[in-house]
């Protein structure tokens, strides 16, 4: 019997519950802790969890794996509060989108009798809450694990298998610092751009009549969980600013080419971006075919 506890049945925690039930394993139970009684009842009635509690009473004491779907700050508070509630030998994991500072700060707080393996599912939704959770967002997606020297190799391997079982395609093991550098570019910078783009519109224009899929795609993530992302940005400040400046440099080069009617330079930039995007698609396709 394997008991999995999900802490926080939000959009990510809820998707874990749904994905575990979509790809179930004999003798596996999914329990959840969420302050919202109604959310627990919904998840129970949908068969996505087997049991729930609004605050931990008995769940953490039984759980072999605890998936903590909380924001970075709430995660720290949770670990500190429940340090004596976790089962001996339990594997703990998180889903936070920033790692370096977090690993540093939590180092002293993790009880010795558990194995905390930091993780980051690269799949989410711009809407929050269990109602928007969906097993399908995990399908074919990337997962990053940032183990520390304290982790047991067999536990990392076990977690990796579980992640792949529930739909993720590629699990990458990476240093926390490398994680933060890459996420600053592939995720956080994208959010800075999307927010800046939509906020630069003149609200007195009837913009909706003039949009195509380009604008729709580039602003999708401008719908953003403000408390979570303010935390993430500040916790990863240095890496994010480096990514911001790298983007600014390219943006300035393109602006200059437009100002100077430099058609050749523009065409070169377009050829380069087309090449890179095509390579990205090929790598994505290759991964899905594997």
């Amino acid at each position: 019997m394997t008991t999995i506890a999900i802490v926080g049945l939000g959009v990510v925690g809820g998707s874990f519950a749904k994905a575990l039930k979509k790809y179930p394993q004999a003798g596996e139970r999914v329990l959840a802790i969420d302050p919202d009684e109604e959310t627990l009842q919904t998840a129970l009635s949908e068969g996505m969890i087997d049991y729930g509690e609004t605050a931990n009473e008995t769940i953490l004491q039984q759980a072999d794996l605890v998936i903590i779907g909380l924001y970075p700050r709430a995660l720290k508070d949770f670990i500190i509060k429940h340090r004596n509630d976790f089962k001996k030998g339990a594997i703990l994991t998180d889903v936070a989108g920033v790692k370096g500072v977090l690993v540093e700060q939590l180092k002293a707080e993790i009880p010795e009798h558990v194995d905390f393996i930091y993780g980051h599912p690269m799949a989410g939704r711009e809407n929050r809450g269990y109602a928007y959770s969906d097993a399908d967002v995990f399908e074919g997606a990337n997962y990053l694990l940032t183990p520390t020297a304290d982790n047991q190799p067999e536990n990392i391997e076990w977690l990796e298998q579980l992640i792949k079982r529930i739909g993720f395609k590629r699990v990458t093991i990476v240093q926390p610092e490398k994680h933060d550098e890459m996420i600053a570019f592939t995720s956080q910078l994208c959010h800075v751009i999307a927010v800046s783009l939509i906020n630069s519109d003149d609200p007195n224009r009837d913009t909706v009549k003039f949009i195509g899929d380009s604008y729709r795609d580039l602003t999708r993530i401008a719908k953003i969980n403000d408390s979570l992302w303010s935390e993430l940005f500040i916790e990863n400040k240095d890496e994010l600013l480096a990514a911001v400046e790298g983007f600014e440099k390219q943006f300035q080069l393109m602006k200059q080419a437009i100002q100077e009617d430099n058609v050749d330079e523009l065409a070169n930039m377009f050829k380069e971006s087309t090449k890179r995007r095509t390579q990205l698609e090929q790598a994505d396709r290759k991964q899905k075919a594997e």
Copy 2:
């Protein structure tokens, strides 16, 4: 009998052929002019056109409507070359993504016996060629018409009906200058951003392992037709630079808030962008439900 000629069976022209056959009307024929014999044969065998020529011989002489799916410069050349070939009373329309300069330049070239109604389907694909054409990209999309004082109101209305028949949801009548101002923001600026984003990556990093849907969505249009878009950018230079500068201002404000750890300011920006994006989705949904 209505005869429709499509000039250029590329991704946009091909999509017109497919959409006209998806929503056919009794007594309507679709003919095409495309230099590539193989493309014509494919379209014929798929039943998407009724007849084709690699260069005009008989088609323009019969066509009641000519949809010209060419780049701005090629469009001008085509009009000049064929000024005496168009049927008397024919309606001509284009699909170019820039209007102000084009309308000005073509003014003297349009023969008096035809009615040229400028148009811009806000739907496309980042890949070029007939193979990527698809009637479905038009489904529910926006269409912009920029009539001039020379156009006949009944012809504008007739064209509008045809556009709606083949899947477009909202046809907006707009001045060429307003068109260019809006397109600079909703389309061209988005392309500047996507190209700058992907070109600011360090190609020595294994970025593909670290991406989620944010990066995929924001770089989709970085795959770009370099000759077409260099033309479009330069022809709409002033409006595009204004959009670029509006974006830069917001981007700088966000950068500053990150530098100063200004969590409140970040949260305010996120709330504003969330509000705007939510309104956009509501407007889009309302349109689709109409």
